[in-house]
Symmetry: C2
Subunit: 298 residues, 2 copies
């Protein structure tokens, strides 16, 4: 299958690498410095104690999407509109765009700009970038795709490439379940620059996690979203499954890059204001991350 990966960060690089290994024709689209590194030195995938160097195609020019049957859309939520507009003139009408992003609104935001089929994916993976052409896998790796005519075929393709993938009729709920985990841990890990396993051991943290979760569930409920599963169990499991993982927000702050906090706790704060629902702990975490971002910009 001909595939483009738009945004070769920790998520895009990992899934792109898995698809390269499975023999697909993958092109990574990134900034020119990263593209040079990928072309000259290949993409390094570090997983399960093994470092594999993959020869890959890379381009800084979004027009390469023209021949792609699938686009894995893995840019930060803050770049959704810009990246969509950059691809739009070149996309074939029957290209399928998979949103591999955090947050709950990206598929909708993409659909407002693109007539193509947009499929929301819920991404369950712990990865980070050791260098612009070196992705490290720390845990998990599965996907949940929103139901569509194309989803069963795509799920089969991913699963065959070593990416366990399910199709769900309630992706909105699954995206919310993931949003709640992100709201619970991303800011705490970012503010303290600590991994999930250490965060979970702090005094009073259980209560803070409960507060964040309940505030998010109040918003989900008001929006008519049914969050599947036992959310508190998932919150408690996260640091056990990924004890050494620092959140993507922590990675962004450490690199002085803008984070996605506006689409995580910041989204809850906006919806709380719209719906007149009090979300004090999400607001405090959001405010702290924004202050640290301001500091790094200063």
């Amino acid at each position: 299958m001909k595939i483009s990966v738009m945004g070769a960060g920790a998520v895009g690089s990992y899934y792109g690498a898995m698809l390269v290994q499975a023999g697909h024709d993958v092109t990574f689209i990134g900034r020119s410095g990263q593209v040079s590194a990928l072309r000259e030195h290949g993409l390094q995938l570090e997983k399960g104690g093994t470092l594999t160097r993959l020869t890959v195609q890379a381009s800084a020019d979004p027009s390469v999407v023209a021949t792609s049957e699938i686009v894995l859309f893995a840019v930060k939520s803050s770049d959704t509109e810009t990246a969509a507009k950059a691809m739009a003139p070149f996309l074939s009408p029957d290209t399928v765009i998979l949103s591999f992003q955090n947050g709950v609104e990206n598929a909708e935001r993409l659909q407002q700009l693109l007539p193509q089929t947009i499929i929301a994916a819920v991404v369950y993976v712990a990865t980070d970038m050791a260098a612009p052409n070196h992705v490290r896998h720390h845990g998990r790796g599965g996907l949940v795709l929103a139901a569509s005519a194309r989803s069963p075929e795509l799920a089969a393709m991913f699963t065959a490439a070593g990416i366990p993938t399910e199709v769900s009729e309630n992706t909105a709920g699954a995206l919310w379940a993931k949003l709640i985990l992100n709201c619970a841990y991303n800011a705490l890990s970012a503010i303290t620059q600590l991994p999930y396993g250490t965060v979970a051991q702090g005094p009073e943290i259980d209560g803070v996690l409960q507060d964040v979760m309940q505030e998010c569930l109040s918003i989900a409920d008001a929006l008519g979203v049914s969050v599947p599963g036992d959310t508190w169990h998932e919150v408690k499991q996260t640091p056990l499954m990924m004890p050494s993982q620092r959140s993507s927000t922590a990675q962004d702050l450490a690199r002085q890059k803008p984070s996605e906090i506006d689409y995580l706790n910041g989204y809850i704060v906006r919806k709380g204001r719209e719906l007149n629902i009090s979300v004090p702990v999400n607001r405090a975490l959001y405010a702290l991350v924004k202050l640290i971002e301001m500091k790094r910009e200063a």
Copy 2:
């Protein structure tokens, strides 16, 4: 007047220095390294653009309190019991101990260990230590003393030494008013390592400050404490009056020293649990400071 300063940090050093300048016989009690610096190089007071080097008496031996008429007790809240027990065998029965500490319980904790007159003082000053024998004044400097037979005379002594001092029948309320300012700003400044003026400019910070204040006022109300003044006005004024000040908690974390957070937001968390009052934002701020302390200990 013969005066000992027990704990020569940013508060004890400042008030001790002001009393030395006014001609009082002051001995600073600290750890041996600090005592050596004070004896060899004097105490440097930086205030209003002027650096003054004061020749001072200093000792690491708490028995020097024996000849003191007044002890300015300015150790961290976490050291109250240890420092009180160290002084106890040497104190004269009519020595007066002034608690110059943050938090609302220190005078009571001292009175449980010492039969002497204990007077709670509410300290309004912005200072920090540039070195163990170098204190910098950044703003304010007044005191409020709890009413007692000795308080008017002591207030006159402090005022004559350039320390504007009032006597109040509601020191509990004044200590609470200060506790609320500490709960509002100490953790935010510590977590972000930013001064108050910058903290106050962050998005959503006003709401966070409101939440912290309301949670604290709920606890004060349940305890029957009447907090004087317009608390929200005080909260809003603090960063305007001390824009460049980093909180004592920020200074402690930066130096990898244990902070007083257990007696600030941590006190609110404990009282909230006892009284069954929800204090989610104080809890989140407390949990974050504790995580950062854990990290620095690791």
